[in-house]
Amino acid sequence: MNLNRRNFLKTGTAAAAGAVLIPPLVQSCNNLKISTNVKDYLNHFEVSRAALNKVISVAMAKGGDYADLFFEHKISNNIGLQDGKVNSASSKIDYGVGIRVLKGDQTGFAYSESLDMQSMLDAARLAASIADEPNTFKKDIFNEKVPADYYNIEKNWEDVSVKDKVPFVQKINDRIFSLDEKVIKVNAFLSDESSYVLFYNSDGRISYDYRPMASFGAVCIMQKGRQVENFYSARSYRKGFEWLTEDLVEELAVEVTQRTNTLFDATKPKAGEMPVVLGAGGSGILLHEAIGHTFEADFNRKGTSIFSDKMGKKVAENFINIIDDGTLENNRGALNIDDEGNDVKKTCLVKDGVLNSYIHDRISSAHYGVDPTGNGRRESFRHIPLPRMSSTYMEPGPHTREEILAEVDYGVYVDNFSNGQVKIGAGDFTFFVKSGYLVEKGKMTRPVKDINIIGNGPQALADVVMAANDYKTDNGTWVCGKGGQSVPVTMGLPTVLVKGLTVGGLNA
């Protein structure tokens, strides 16, 4: 289980040094725009209700308990800047249907990239073979599930010309160069994605969604004498073209330049266990790794998580409330409906310090006999749904940032991260600190950088001894990986104090 803030950029630049779009470069062929009518989605995928029912009948014909169809059409565009010019672009169209059959907690899965009846039936038969008692499925019901509306946008990315996007990427480059003479290189990108989803299952539920996503950011590389340093800043939301503004360009350019600059004076702390102050915002990576993944119910159902027998038990101080929330407006982790057709929710994982709920998909909620939490997510129609986080955060606590810093005699303050990871069963989690500060006698002193911090989930959670009232969400390009599948997420935290974690550093 791992998380990577730069994953997006790495894959983007490795493939093509970015990509672009055109007069939308590519569009969907049956552009239905943002519709709230299931008929438009059926037309978009050129399938009828009768066809859906036929495919489901074949999927259920071997005695499966449940089957679902997940149609997806995703159009992605990316433009990239290097050496001062917007000089590369890429686009991608992905299209198909995933067909899943469940028998108890067993899964049969296949997908098809062609939506002609023969191809869909072939995939349905493959998925059906997880069960082996011939059965006749005769149901012809359609209960339309109207999805929520968490990402209302004004201007659809499919309607935006590449010509209108290029200036923003050019501007962020020019602004970064204007801010500091040490800047030697800038890599900037803008990517957008528009995804059409149609869902139908053997209970007759039919639903749909239109999912926009945009990410914008830059890597700044500076040189001072012989020393070279880099920093990456980006934002990502389910927002439309209206999101791109001069203010956003300015905010990112200033942030990335300032943060690169800090690195030149950075040192490494002493190696070993010490108090760690997690700054508000991106430090939510602590929750994602130390707690979030180990609360995913598939691991607990199989007994492989270190939290497997902790439900209802006290796991943290009373003032700690940890939430997973897929309903945050325009948030990168939000969904109007999850990838199993269920309502997305705000779920309290830890309530007043007590483990309150796991993160569920359909299989695990049935196993535990609880309502689905709307966390069944999949990377695409090619993948099976798994319990996944959306936006994971801690509610504000009773302390102030100043009170927290005052408690620390020698430790580190960290607030910028590039990635993290966890071992579910052992509970050991890590996060890599791109930048932070030493804390000496209650004061932030020298910057630190490039250190890994490692701890054990249950211990670290119990060791969160203070939490401040300054909550912030981190809206970076976070990508969460699990079982070979990547999904977009966000996270957040108020400033907190963890009594002791093992900090990478140097031995005297």
């Binding site: 672009a89 890597v219 007994g303 890590t430």
Partner: protein, 439 residues
């Protein structure tokens, strides 16, 4: 799609691009098939099958460049429109004179050795046999130890093929197969439930190892019980062969044309200079029989060559594709690794462990990262404390921290146990004086 069908579609797309404004183009048609079976508690847990096809087109339009891909290949009219729109959109980008196809003289033109990376039997294997293999792995360990909380075993196989054509005369195709058997086992002692996995993979079904994988996973999980951190300190670090790629990849990343040209590499201007210990000799060899990274042409169609990357610690070659080679005013070498081979030392892992007075034998990494510009790194690790040549106890929740330039100067010994079922054929590596943080 047959290879012939792929060529036909690729040629048609290429011609369409050239007729609609592209000055140069490259088209790649990919197809792949994968089967995946996982079993748990004597039942099939997941049965997955996938078949996919895709087209990628690299467009060079009046010195402007873009790349596009789609999996909607069945309607030519839509595909034609996709290509036309892509060309039109490319016109809004800035010119970049370095974007062009490779010089045709560098292309692979046939006559290379037989690489043996494709199993003709792929389509004819009985699906039931595959399921039985997965159950066989589970049966090795299920119920064999009361501390086991979960065993999952998996069988996977896949076939992938590609055809590539370019407007300046390259035509080439490649197909390969793989088979993989794996197990993951979780065990319990008090609260901790450490898990471990083991796997074997092969290019040919008949060479896939059928047994021992479950037992190895269980043994590796059990020996982690009781793991804990120890005091911080500088010690030798011995890395298990399968994991050593973790220490190699930042070095390789620093050699890529993009990193060098964008000054985002700690190996800028280091060509023909001493970077590491004399024990560091690294060869990129594309021609190893059934090598997982073997290939006759690279992703641009250029003929691959066997070359030295490091020779006795001296950096001999970057990884340069046509674009970055042009920008750096150097000759292209191929933009990515094929098979990596380190010059072997004389001892295996047991002998290396026995040689340590006090050090840590690393058998797992946990997160961490490195700074591409400076080479600074910090990674979470787990493994074993070794004292007086013997494994003393399992350790975890520790970090190693340092700088890759210093780490490779401290490369003390290379094992003779290269892990050959991977494109990066890493042996065990022993580094002196590594900073560990723990208690």
């Amino acid at each position: 799609m047959t290879t012939k069908d792929k060529y036909k579609l690729a040629d048609r797309a290429l011609e369409h691009a050239l007729n609609n404004g592209a000055s140069q183009a490259r088209v790649i048609i990919n197809n792949s098939q994968n089967n995946s079976i996982s079993v748990r508690e004597k039942k099939i847990e997941n049965l997955e099958k996938s078949i996919e096809n895709g087209l990628s087109i690299f467009l060079y339009v009046d010195n402007k460049y873009s790349v596009h891909s789609t999996n909607r290949l069945d309607k030519w009219k839509e595909l034609a429109k996709f290509i036309e729109e892509a060309i039109e959109g490319t016109r809004y980008l800035s010119e970049d004179k370095y974007r062009k196809l490779p010089d045709a003289s560098l292309y692979y033109k046939g006559g290379g050795p037989e690489l043996k990376i494709f199993d003709e039997e792929y389509e004819s294997i009985d699906p039931q046999q595959k399921i039985d293999l997965a159950f066989g792995i589970e049966n090795e360990v299920a119920g064999k130890d009361e501390r086991i909380v979960s065993v999952t075993s998996s069988y996977d196989d896949g076939m992938s093929g590609m055809v590539m054509v370019t407007s300046n005369g390259f035509r080439g195709d490649r197909t390969s197969t793989y088979y993989n058997l794996s197990a993951s086992v979780s065990v319990k002692q008090r609260d901790a439930r450490p898990g471990e996995g083991w796997f074997d993979n092969a290019v040919f079904y008949k060479t896939l190892k059928h047994d021992g994988i479950g037992r190895e996973a269980l043994e590796r999980a059990l020996r982690k019980l009781g793991q804990s951190k120890i005091e911080s300190g500088n010690m030798p670090m011995l890395i298990e062969n399968r994991l050593a790629g973790q220490c190699l990849s930042p070095l390789i990343r620093a050699l890529s044309g993009a990193a060098i040209q964008q000054k985002n590499s700690f190996l800028v201007d280091m060509l023909d200079k001493k970077v590491g210990s004399p024990r560091l000799t690294l060869i990129d060899d594309p021609f190893i029989e059934s090598g997982r990274g073997s290939r006759l042409f690279d992703s641009e169609g250029m003929a691959t060559k066997k070359r030295k990357i490091f020779e006795n610690g001296i950096l001999r070659s970057y990884y340069l594709d046509t674009y970055y080679a042009g920008k750096l005013d150097m000759e292209p070498t191929g933009g990515s690794t094929t098979n990596l081979v380190l010059n072997k030392g004389g001892r295996n892992i047991d002998e290396l462990i026995a040689s340590l007075d006090r050090g840590i034998f690393v058998t797992g990494f946990n997160g961490g990262n490195s700074n591409g510009s400076t080479g600074d790194f910090s990674y979470g690790i787990e493994g074993f404390l070794v004292e007086k040549g013997k494994i003393v106890k399992p350790v975890s929740e520790m970090n190693i921290t340092g700088n890759f330039l210093e780490l490779y100067k401290n490369l003390a010994e290379v094992g003779n146990d290269a892990y050959e079922d991977s494109a990066w054929r890493t042996p065990s590596l022993l580094f002196d004086d590594v900073s560990f943080s723990g208690k």
